[in-house]
Amino acid sequence: MHVTLKLYASLGQYLPPRAERNEAQVEVDDGTTIGALLAQHLVPPEACHLVLLNGIFQPPAGRTAVRLADGDAVAVWPPVAGG
């Protein structure tokens, strides 16, 4: 199945080469968790501060439990803020 991986700010360096506008379509096996997806792309877990699944916040404890569905979008940021 396919999901959209979005990595922003300093995490952009972990995107696959074909990524554009900080996102890429990636193929994953059924049952892949958010944590596994990020590990496949070598994103350091400690840098993943804000993790959204289809725009909804995923707490750290749930990232290794929530399994992705076809068409999901995972967006991740390091610690950032603004105002």
Binding site: L50, W77, A81, G82, G83
Partner: protein
Amino acid sequence: MGWTSKILRVNLTEGTAKSEPLNMDWAAKYLGQRGLASRYLVEEIDPRCDPLGPGNKLIFATGPLTGTAASTGGRYSVITKGALTNAIACSNSGGYWGAELKFAGWDMIILEGRSPKPVYLAVIDDKAELHDASGIWGTSVWQTDEWIKKRHQDPMMHVSAIGVAGENQVLYSCIVNDLHRAAGRSGVGAVMGSKNLKAIAVRGTGGVRVRDFKAFMAAANAGKKVLRDNAVTGQGLPTHGTQVLMNVINEVGALPTRNSRDVQFEGAHDISAEAMATPRKTDGRKNLLTNQACFGCTIACGRISKIDESHYTVRNKPEYWHASGGLEYEAAWALGAATGVNDLEALTYTNFICNEQGLDPISFGATVGAAMELYELGLLSKETTGGLEMKFGSAEALTRAAELVGKAEGFGKELGLGSARLTAKHGKPELAMTVKGQEFPAYDPRGIQGMGLTYATSNRGACHLRSYTVSSEILGIPHKTDPLVTDGKAGLVKAFQDATAAVDSTGLCVFTTFAWTLNDIAPQVDAAVEGGWTPEKMLEAGERIWNLERQFNMRAGFTAADDRLPDRLVKEAARTGPAKGLVNGLDKMLPEYYELRGWTKDGVPTNETVARLAL
């Protein structure tokens, strides 16, 4: 001690400038800057006065930590009755001007009356004089800055000025210091223009004494270590700036788009921090050159940008080819998503114009967005806009509008009224995304519920900086709450409002609170000035300040009926994203908020609350 204990009182009608002692009893209750100057304003003006009349006063106020070695200790605020809102206004700015005023030996400047002719005020240490400004009236902030420094033969002066927009009393004109830092909101620039005051130039050669030097340095250095070690203030903000929020807020479905018809913008990435840091296809250079810090700041979130010289906006205008203040998140949202424009260079140019002529980019961009909706509904035409095709997504319309408003020419005069008056004039007041006449900023309350209550109850009209619940609801600072629910938001908003009112009264930047709590700030304040400042006392002062501002507004004619949101946000559900199907639940939050505040169901502070806070 952190105070110079001196106020400069300038009567513009009489042309006099006199020194008077700072009211230390009030300083003990209202801390400084926002709180203390609001106490002076409440004492000295009729809340029902015309904000653009001589009865209004304009106060430039520092805090106890302004000019000290505390990180970010360079802030000052402008307090007055707002031209845009008719409510109490307090607009806060960074840069270097505030610290310089302290170095000159002054805590505060109170300007009253109206000068019979254009003047500027020069404060050089203890000497303060009004000078003829006819030579710079009609020029920009940038030209004024250069002219005054040449006139006084002193490049070390710091200048706070209005542009042509302020002179023409554009209702959302601002006051700009150090070329691109601004007291931005509520039309404080129009008040300055109404007084025929072009600028205040300051040069100080003294220092700032603190009450207990050893304790102060220990507290200040401990605070700096906290900022350095925190991932947000130590790395995130200096590297990416506030603009990193563009993709975050779009992803959570809370980016007000095309005058809030939508909550997600397909062009968000094109105008984001990531885009600013990516080499352009046209010239291979990045929009963002570097970051920049204000006085004493160890965060350095400011953006310095350079526009592509081949872009249509500046192709034949080398005067805009230099590096200058770049896009912050709020400006990029208002100039971009609110208008549907995704041209980063056009937004940067418009931001330059806002700095050059003294316009609040939030209110300007939001007003252009409202005008674009009027245009698409057929309520504005090319005849009424002077030939401008005000279509959503038109970069040309946006940049031309900025030029016209900045100079108060043609259709620009109408846009200068702000969106509330503009939409009312054309029979569609419901299209104004405003509270108390002020355009709301870059967070849609359908996707971030707490921000609806924040906007509705903000004493200076819609504003994110009065209680930035985005910090908790989206970013998880200090703890994560669900942005899509109303439960618990009344208490969250009150807590943010009170704490922020205290921080805004210290001379520090509110961005420190991504890492600091009042436990980090109170020891710095306490070591700088008398008063026995603890975190608890600061929070109490913050609540007192909030209620003082509320009382001013009530005397000015505001009621609970003004604690409302535009119908679009409470009746038209979000169409996409996590908030799809949701409206803002203000009606669920507001009664609980009044109760927590100790106000009646009509939003009036009870006698018990007034007595408890010693108002």
